[in-house]
Symmetry: C2
Subunit: 441 residues, 2 copies
């Protein structure tokens, strides 16, 4: 354990030590992950972010950037000292041009704020991760966040037109801007997107927006088995319609949350498929036909409020859970969904999954009744990651590698790709001070 003398940091920007516990954990805290930091820096603007990084880089002090703290992979948790750099004071909307479908916001602006500003101006920001009221745009960019509606509209990176970021040893860079197409330089914006704060700290972003769909018509249906439900998903894909979402819940997720499903579910429902047409009634009819005779049309507002509560309902079932976000090719989804339950059973754990079926992105979850279950759940998660890799998928569809999945990229990617990953990290952060230990192979 290294301790750093950070007494000079407060001359650079507002800083606090000792560090409040809130800055030492993220949404993975239920798994017992709590870090340690020597100070928290609270820069007021991008220039101060650069100054903090310069100060730290000169002194070999680790810098751990922090957004809303809603991550599940421990990406924002300082593992062994250094400075937590919180973006919470960078909350300016720098510019907003609704008629040009674009907005420039600082990293600490909440996801829900962007969504609200868009909505109030007839526009739409489709990235809708689970904790949008708390998560920040900077963190959404650092993890390349998704959500149900990114099935049709693309994850965070697809809405980033330009980024302002601070890179080692403390330089402010701007790549892209209010331009919708740019192939002049390497795509540094996409490289920073999803890099989990290990290559640079995003301080602001130019985001694209789009006109809001006129009407949302959800269509859902339940089935008696995973196989029947996955067949329905394939029918939706073959319907000729691009649904706005294509979600599922398996039997365990229904057991935890189905009782409050808007309009109710059949007692024998073991698999739920949720789609939504945002292109009119005719497409909703086509989706309903693809889903078959059990199709129903829940109210959109009620449906999405209920859907937001699924994760909490699953947690409530036994008191705790360990949830991971693997993704697999669409044709391996039924196999993955059933295998998640089987992995749980092998470790004497109730297991379930739900998520973004159209993207093959599954929130695979092992329920915890007591802290004693945690070691078995961790063993189960290792089997889960091996399963995802074995099916040609990935250990993370939207949460990232963070600290908790460290070491798994090296099993997912072949050696030359891992070497590229590491060469880029070494080229941009030669001292390895940016979010150390995170997103490692």
């Amino acid at each position: 354990m290294i301790s750093h003398d950070l007494s000079g940091l407060s001359a650079v920007c507002e800083a606090r030590a000792p560090v409040d516990a809130a800055y030492l954990a993220d949404a993975s805290a239920s798994m017992g992950l709590r870090g340690r930091a020597d100070a928290v820096a609270l820069p007021a603007d991008a220039a101060e972010v650069a100054a903090v990084m310069r100060w730290c880089y000169e002194r070999d002090v680790p810098v751990v950037p922090r957004g809303g703290g809603t991550g599940y992979a421990g990406g924002a948790v300082p593992i062994d000292g250094g400075v937590v750099l919180s973006l919470e004071r960078l909350t300016r909307v720098r510019s907003f041009d609704p008629l040009l479908w674009r907005i420039e916001v600082e990293a600490g602006v909440r996801t829900a704020t962007v969504a609200r500003l868009a909505r109030e101006n007839g526009l739409y920001f489709p990235v809708d991760p689970g904790a949008a009221e708390q998560s920040q745009i900077g963190g959404n960019i650092a993890t390349n966040a998704g959500g149900p509606h990114t099935f049709k509209y693309g994850v965070m990176g697809k809405w980033v037109m330009g980024l302002e970021a601070v890179v080692p040893p403390g330089e402010l860079v701007q790549v892209g801007g209010p331009v919708r197409k740019d192939v002049a330089g390497y795509d540094l914006a996409s490289l920073l997107v999803g890099s989990e704060g290990t290559l640079g700290i995003v301080t602001a972003a130019w985001l694209a927006l789009m006109p809001a769909p006129a009407l949302r018509i959800p269509v859902a249906a339940s089935y008696g088995s995973t196989a029947a439900g996955c067949a329905a998903i394939e029918s939706v894909l073959a319907s000729g319609v691009v649904p706005a979402v294509l979600e599922y819940l398996d039997a365990g997720a229904i057991a935890a949350s189905g009782a409050t499903f808007p309009g109710g579910l059949a007692d024998d429902a073991r698999f739920l498929v949720i789609t939504e047409s945002d292109t009119g009634a005719q497409d909703a009819d086509a989706l309903a036909e693809a889903l078959g005779r059990t199709a129903l049309r829940p109210d959109a507002t009620a449906l999405w409020r209920w859907r937001e509560g699924v994760s909490l309902a699953v947690t409530a079932r036994r008191g705790g859970k360990l949830s991971e976000d693997i993704a697999v090719p669409l044709d391996r989804m039924a196999q993955a969904i059933d295998e998640i339950v089987a992995i749980g059973a092998r470790h004497a754990l109730e297991a379930c999954s739900w998520g973004h079926a159209g993207d093959g992105n599954l929130h695979a979850t092992f329920l915890l009744a007591s802290p004693e279950d945690l070691p078995r759940a961790e063993a189960a998660v290792h089997e889960l990651f091996a399963l995802a890799i074995g099916l040609g998928g990935t250990i993370s569809g939207e949460h990232g590698v963070g600290w908790l999945k460290r070491g798994w990229l090296g099993r997912q990617w072949d050696a030359p790709a891992v070497r590229l990953h590491q060469a880029i990290k070494a080229a941009i952060d030669p001292k390895g001070l940016l979010n150390p230990g995170k997103k490692t192979a």
Copy 2:
């Protein structure tokens, strides 16, 4: 001028020397750019691509990858010897799963082939660059190609789910695959997309497809001035509809091509706006209302056949042209369009522009009546690039930097961003043998 002894290359894969002239130029040949190479390698598969790169890397021989040769920036032109590595024999469609909206193709498969396979199976591949019959998927990826319909659906990179590529010193890597979401490692696929063969050679790609829109309804309208036309474009953006395309032609482009516009144009047309609804008649009506009283509905097939001929018609007007593809923020478009003509006038050249208005992506063009006009046109192009940068735009929206725009990235980006660009190149291609001289700052 360096010459390389490549007598051993033919043991690695099929190779030819001397090099046929067809491999020494691209679509910029009209500007007199013709390169020099010691041999052309024609690998049969990805393993042979890796073997050629290994062979060259060990011997310090430059490697210039080549797709369909339809680029406008000299990106595929070998500047000073070495090996041209043509992907033309990598033409396999490795897998195609229409029901799962995905296809895996080798780099040498033609863009039009992917579009046709998709269409024949009720699907749609929206990337539609100008020379789709000749251009190859690998080249589309290397330049992050666009086209009219990428306004709504996104440029090439947004359709790449995974890449297989050969990177220095000759290793085959795979990043991504048949998975729609993956945040495990850095986004190496996006880094390779648009890198113009300077970081790696793409050998195959997993591409996403989508269901084909049921109906395309183009709506166009002409105006008496740039200002009126650009106001109409803003009305379209405010209409609440996301049009599939949002194109324009200025007065000069209309003078060159308007006579054959399907259905004809008014004599006093000085600006043409073209939109298309692929979401039904109601949205087409809304687009027509936004375009105003001159709105008309040309036949889709005739319109797009005509639109493909615009570039050639402009060339035909004086015999030659020098065309660049700047992009600017949408609110600077009218200014850019008028300034292009003014720049031409200052150099005694007729000038015009057309392109992807919704993306602010302008094909700015100076007409050449004789080779003597070329130096003045080159001076005009330099003013054009300075204009794009001054307006907060980019020197290239879709063609790339190649050889002809070398040095301009350093004027568009600030120094720290350029250093990142160069650090990445040095980290991945330490000998600088991959497409030397291209995409430099």
